[in-house]
């Protein structure tokens, strides 16, 4: 990837994680890693977000919330599963209240492994997500969607 074609906004949601990945996601925003220098902003609003970062396995309580957040995001959108729990369920896979990875509920584009996922790999995952976002944007335009993700 040579250039970043847009300044993507992130949305972070904790589906049922142990906090470890969540504080690492927050860590990415603080002076040492500082992903804001790429023009990336952590927003709390799904309607303005391009990339959804999800941590933790899904349980029956958060399932509807995850689905709702995903449906509120405008097209094109990319989902990044952060941490091994979000990828497969991780150590909590056999707990009675854990359904498994995020992909059991919504489609996932990038899987970031690790327990807890390190800030470096989270940034890598986000950069990967940017490429996918570009591809989806091109696809979206070809199919007659508007330039800013608003369907005609």
């Amino acid at each position: 990837m040579n250039k970043v074609s847009k300044s993507p906004w992130l949305l972070h949601y904790d589906a049922s994680s142990c906090n470890g990945c969540d504080i690492e996601v927050l860590d990415c925003l603080t002076p040492k890693y500082d992903i804001e220098r790429f023009g990336i902003i952590n927003t709390g609003d799904p309607f303005q977000a391009d990339i959804l970062l999800i941590t933790g396995g899904v349980n029956s309580q958060t399932e509807s919330v995850v689905k709702q957040i995903y449906s509120q995001m405008p097209e094109p959108k990319v989902v990044v599963a952060v941490g091994i729990c979000a990828c497969t369920g991780g150590v909590f896979k056999e707990c009675y209240n854990i359904r498994g990875g995020i992909d059991t509920v919504i489609p996932v584009d990038v899987y970031v492994p690790g327990c807890a996922a390190r800030p470096e790999s989270i940034i890598d995952g986000v950069v990967k997500a940017l490429e996918i976002l570009d591809e989806k944007q091109a696809e979206h335009k070809k199919n007659g969607g508007g330039a800013h993700g608003i369907s005609k």
């Binding site: 349980n59 309580q61 009675y96 209240n97």
Partner: protein, 115 residues
């Protein structure tokens, strides 16, 4: 300082007076723990004063009702609701009673039986 932790087996009739005494002597409620045993539950109520800890142990039959201690220790409500929902212990008059909606889970009393 040696590790003080005493477990006192308590009969149902003596339990409430014992808790009231703890309260008047200004003991702090530390924790409430339920354990599933053959044909019922083992309830442990731990109290702490300075560095000393005393645990009152109550053996409860499966269908036996026990009264909530929230009238004496209002802060017990979270842990009593938890024991009631996850273990199915019949605790009556919890204030506030979440009626098995403390944790939003699909299973009923998942800790009741062992796998």
């Amino acid at each position: 300082m040696a590790y003080q932790s005493e477990i006192k087996e308590t009969a149902m009739a003596d339990f409430f007076p014992a808790v009231v005494k703890m309260k008047t002597d200004q003991w702090r409620l530390v924790q409430i723990c339920a354990v599933s045993v053959e044909g019922g539950y083992e309830m442990s109520y731990s109290f702490c004063k300075d560095y000393e800890m005393v645990t009152l142990r109550l053996n409860v039959a499966e269908e036996e009702e026990i009264a909530s201690i929230t009238q004496i220790y209002p802060c017990a409500f979270l842990q009593e609701n938890e024991a009631a929902q996850l273990f199915g212990v019949k605790i009556v008059n919890i204030r506030p009673d979440y009626r098995d909606r403390l944790y939003r889970i699909d299973e009923t009393a998942p800790f009741k039986t062992k796998e």
